[in-house]
Amino acid sequence: MVEKEQINTGAALHLLPTKKFKTTTILLQMLAPLEAETATERSLLSQVLKSATADYPSRKSIRSHLDYLYGAVFTTDVAKKGDYHLLTFRLDIANERYIEHAEPLLEEGLAFLKGAVLSPYLENGIFSEKIIAEEKRNLQQRMEAVYDDKIRYANNRMLQHMFPEDPYRLQAQGELERLEAVSAERLMTVYESMLKEDKVDMYIIGDVEEAQAAKAASAFSVFEENRHVKKAAGTAYSVRETPNHIKETDDIQQGKLHIGCRVPVYFKDSSFAAMQVANALLGGFPHSKLFLNVREKESLAYYAASRYDSLKGFVTIMAGIETSQYDKALAIITEQIEDMKIGRFTEDEVEQTKGMLVNQLLETADSAKGTADLLYQGIVGERQISMDEWISQVQAVTLEEVADCAADIVIDTVFFLHGEKEDQ
């Protein structure tokens, strides 16, 4: 994979030329601190900006134009990246090489993208009240629907307990309590500061020439290069004396167990790869300890897995279990963590885990969005590494390093959402 950043442009340009895709993907990544005062606004903004531009002032006219461009896909998305809030604009457009008699599409697509980001539809210099009202209603319903997805809901509740004072408790899509009060003026203010202050990175993935990409990026010259965004006021890493145990009830069939663990290892650290292996050995794959011991050996769960967030420094363990099996499941999970800490795992297990991780990295690079996500992790995580470096670091991890990383895992919050009755 080649990554070139020498082209002088506003947004930092990352061109990833490849012939393997039949469409071209363009991502514009806008990074800001994660803050209660702006997360909801930015989330609403991502909806409003995709609904109307100065040239295409309605959802219908946008859709019609994108259809005309052979079904170009335009989406916006928000995500939490450690102490930052990320707003992504994504355009995926067909490569005209594979369509008979088609006109060049990339430039047209970029012109549209530029319009969506920089020339929104405004009325008297401000966002349309009608569109804001529609998008508030849509967003509100999506926020409320989080409760309807019980696994996601339980995970959010766990995070709220684990990070009570930290902005990380917030949802990327914002908070319901704040949404209603967001005015058109307020949205405009947040939009303007987004253009002025966000760190902007542009990824172009596809069969694209350097000159074409440079031209594409110059459309966004309004952004100053090498902007640095201040971190949000995330609370410093801290460890509880004893884990926080919380149980909540809901009218559900299966208990959702979510365990949040602190780990003071971050993407920029030299032990990152070892921590990645440690987490994968604990619960990343079907040969991992959680899958084997909670599911295969004891038949307690269908899913039992762990996930490592290297930007915020924590591990989430999750499993769906019968309410009556709570104590047993928790004991088995705790035992798996303790076993990891004292190095109770074999070289074969570690080697297999490393092989699977490398496979996973390479597979992720087989999708345009996956490639960009992997590389962008390095930008937010303050250590830019190539895929090859990443892979060789995983391969170099030793058993001792895995145990050392595991030794730092501390259970912080044990959250259990379960039915009102004992196992109906």
Binding site: T18, K19, K20, K22, T23, S58, R59, K60, R63, S64, D67, Y68, L69, Y70, G71, V73, D92, I93, A94, Y98, I99, E100, E134, R137, N138, Q141, E144, A145, Y147, D148, K150, I151, D250, D251, I252, Q253, Q254, F285, P286, H287, E296, S299, L300, A301, Y302, G320, I321, E322, Q352, G355, M356, V358, N359, Q360, L362, E363, A365, D366, S367, A368
Partner: protein
């Protein structure tokens, strides 16, 4: 080995039907790190009533058995096949649908070894009473997980409302009760009947050498004995044209109600006719209610739908239906708007400019699908089982006319075959 070349999209497919009846497809994709392979049997949850291979009397098997079988295939004398793939750097998985069970792996090294493992484990059933019992607890938790998923429940409630008899109304995983009736012997019966190579297809996509791979696969298959290909005798109940129920409502712990409107379709097209029909119905639906239509955008502006709204025409072996819906604060009103548009058949609702644009949109969508090895494998296999060639999609789309779609509109959406499924917020007792 046969080849199928599509120069406009720069794709070339290699394929062959082996002596034992197995269909093999290889799609080389330059530049990809991974190889993705699926080994699929044309057998799923609806195939619960059949004459077993070598038997004379039809049998009925417990609900959820195809899915149970899928779980149990991963175990053999040596242990867990997940581990074998894992040691060879591959991630493996499987899924069961109404009409298919697919086993798959993806790997970025040791492709040939992994292909052999895939063929060998699926062609080697090994079930013991102990392991069958043990799996019941795991599948019970899988079913419980689905029981908390409102979208899943809304969908199966709709199928239950549409179908009187057809086994599509049965949950793919079965019920907690039905899976406890499954025995080792049942699993062998289903396996022997439906996992014959002549009822299966292997699809491989990735940076692969087709000749070498085909040779490897042939050698693997030549080393195994299979009885002569039997004619499958599946038994399907008679399904009336009208829906079993016009409306079902489920109360759950949810914030946002959901509504799905479904129309049952009885049709028996095959091959090219089927493909044209499916594409034309998709075009019709996109033109009437898809994003960008006046219908969709008005509902959005009125707050009747959000981004979760979608409509889909589903054609599967022995059953066909249309479904549309999503999250909404006003399920009754949304339901009325959908049925009224589809059943009133006001020609003004069919925008012919929109129709042409959607044809253009579909060309881009097709190219995007070629980026995904997973999509190609599953789609190509489904089409192949139905006697269709997926690569013909673009040309056939081009030839479909607005008149054709309007005629189909007239033939569908009458009312009696309609059913509605709602999930609403549970009232506090």
């Amino acid at each position: 080995m046969n080849t199928l070349e599509k120069s406009t999209i720069d794709e070339k497919l290699y394929y062959e039907v082996l002596d034992n009846g197995l269909q093999v497809y290889i799609l080389p994709k330059k530049g990809f790190h991974k190889t993705f392979a699926t080994f699929t049997t044309n057998y799923g949850s609806i195939d619960n009533h059949f004459t077993p291979i070598g038997g004379s009397e039809p049998v009925k098997v417990p609900d959820g058995i195809a899915h149970f079988l899928e779980h149990k295939m991963f175990e053999d004398e040596e242990g867990d096949v997940f581990q074998t793939f894992g040691k060879q750097g591959a991630s493996s998985n499987a899924f069961t649908s109404f009409t298919k069970t697919a086993y798959l792996f993806s790997s970025t090294a040791q492709t040939e070894k992994n292909i052999s493992t895939l063929l060998d484990f699926v062609q080697h059933p090994y079930f013991t009473e102990d392991s069958v019992e043990k799996e019941k607890g795991i599948i019970e938790q899988e079913i419980r997980m689905y029981e908390d998923q409102a979208d899943w429940l809304a969908f199966f409630q709709l199928l239950g409302g549409m179908y009187h008899e057809h086994p599509a109304k049965i949950d793919i995983a079965g019920t907690v009760e039905s899976i406890y009736d499954i025995t080792k012997e049942d699993l062998y019966t289903c396996y022997e009947t439906f996992y014959h190579p002549s009822n299966m297809a292997l699809f491989i996509a990735g940076d692969a050498e087709p000749e070498a791979l085909m040779a490897l696969i042939k050698e693997n298959q030549a080393g195994k004995e299979f009885p002569p290909a039997p004619e499958l005798k599946r038994i399907l109940p008679e399904e009336p044209a009208e829906a079993a129920s016009d409306k079902k409502v489920l109360e759950m712990s949810v914030n946002t109600p959901k509504v799905l409107v479904g129309y049952k379709v009885l049709q028996e097209r095959t091959g090219e006719d089927l493909m044209r029909y499916e594409l034309a119905m998709d075009l019709l639906m996109d033109t009437l209610i898809g994003p960008g239509t006046t219908f969709y955008e008005s509902l959005y502006e009125e707050g009747l739908i959000d981004d979760s709204f979608s409509g889909e025409f589903q054609v599967d072996r022995s059953f066909t239906f249309f479904v549309a819906g999503g999250d909404t604060a006003q399920p009754d009103e949304l339901q009325n708007r959908i049925t009224s548009l589809l059943e009133t058949k006001d020609p003004a609702a069919f925008d012919s400019e929109m129709f042409e644009r959607i044809k253009r949109r579909n060309i881009g969508t097709f190219l995007r699908q070629l980026n995904s090895l997973e999509f190609m494998a599953s789609q190509y296999t489904s089409y192949a089982f139905a006697g269709m060639d997926m690569f013909d999609t673009a040309a056939m789309l081009e030839s479909i006319t607005a008149e054709e779609c309007l005629e189909l509109w007239n033939q569908h959406f009458h009312g009696p075959e309609r059913s509605v499924s709602q999930v609403v917020k549970k009232k506090n007792e």
